[in-house]
Symmetry: C2
């Protein structure tokens, strides 16, 4: 059983404000927006507002009514499912451009919390649904993102069920690195904004095992740790092989 970091309920530090500037948005090529024709780029603006979150702040909780959908524009979130006794599984880390609300349920089945300070675009669900009907490209884009999310979730099943701790960590680091590249950051050194507890809950391990796995990868010369939250990937092919991934 592990102690969770103090959760800050949503409206405490959150701010919402109308904002019309999609033009200079850094994630528009990867986000939902990417599906829209040039003349449509503005349609989301009409129903959109902006949210900011402080680290560890809760965006929504398991069981909350889902009234809004979101696109993360900066920062990182974690999506998690918890059992009554406190065991927690992190279903994924949300990086800029990702959309929250793909599974489309009425009530949230997972919680979303900020890992780092976050900035999001927020859309009311009913309006979003209306826009989807009116704009086929938006609808198709969301469908496409849902399919990708399904592929990713299924890939994680193999990881959780059949990989060893070292293999899990290798895969985790490579996945984060790929996402960093997608977001225009270098593949290495890699920032690990989340805590060891988060990583453990993502990989289905304990923080101690995660820490030992970091040490194991270091010993094998695959990575180096500047500090606990900054990894240098020294041997990417080696890491890839360990992770059991295709070259």
């Amino acid at each position: 059983m592990q102690v969770r970091s103090n959760m800050i309920p949503f409206p405490l530090n959150g701010t919402r404000q109308a904002q019309g500037a999609c033009a200079d948005c850094g994630v528009k090529s990867r986000a939902v927006c990417a599906g829209l024709a040039p003349e449509e780029t503005g349609i989301l603006t009409t129903i959109m507002s902006t949210v900011t979150l402080a680290p560890n702040q809760l965006l929504f909780e398991q069981g909350d009514l889902r009234s809004r959908a979101y696109t993360l524009t900066s920062g990182m979130l974690r999506l998690s499912v918890s059992l009554p006794d406190g065991r927690r599984q992190i279903a994924g880390f949300v990086t800029p451009g990702d959309y929250l609300g793909l599974s489309g349920e009425d009530v949230h089945t997972q919680a979303a919390e900020a890992v780092t300070a976050c900035r999001l675009c927020s859309f009311p669900v009913p309006e979003m649904n209306r826009l989807m009907e009116q704009h086929p490209r938006l609808r198709d884009r969301l469908h496409e993102l849902t399919r990708k999310a399904l592929l990713e979730a299924r890939g994680n099943l193999l990881m959780l069920g059949r990989l060893t701790p070292n293999e899990k960590l290798a895969r985790f680091l490579l996945g984060l690195s790929d996402r960093a590249v997608e977001n225009g950051q270098p593949a290495t050194p890699l920032a690990l904004p989340m805590t060891r507890t988060d990583i453990a809950d993502y990989l289905g391990l304990t923080i101690e095992t995660v820490s030992r796995s970091f040490s194991a990868l270091k010993t094998r010369g695959l990575i180096q740790l500047a500090d606990a939250h900054r990894v240098e990937i020294c041997d990417r092919p080696g890491l890839t092989a360990l992770a059991g991934l295709p070259v």
Copy 2:
């Protein structure tokens, strides 16, 4: 490391034949077809053919080109991902009404094999895509099924990462039971057509641990085994509590 059952490559026992009878189909209320208006029910027939599979027969393999989509009408399939060294994770068991091809990739990322004798409707992917464009309801229905699949996959993450073997087995049995009910069968006794190896690869365990968990649930009076493939659920609330699921 575990030995796999002998795989039979696809065209060996498979048969394909044109068939026009959706009218008396037993799964049309749960399958893709459920999204179609009465006058549209026939549209799929025009591009459809029928496939039958013998137990353990391979429908497609990881890496195969995805040329067809399917709806299972009877029997059971397993979807699995394997590592080069033979470790395998079963992503899910496919029951009647389920659709194969939701994630929409060009190349299959998982294998599909028959657990029992199966009967499927088969659709060429290009024609299916064309139909989706022409029939919004079909498209929406597939989107809806994709969302459900995403929810299920995410639920399985918690199971694989954080549940104990007994809890995993309890959840597995309850899930199967629920699906049996959806397909018009009694909630108990429950048929387990798959092998212990399949169950182990689904739950991220070994066959021995699966077997011991069955024994543990028996000892606690939660279930009874007529034989290895037929379970009587004696204490559903008890099982539900053990699985950590809401009542």
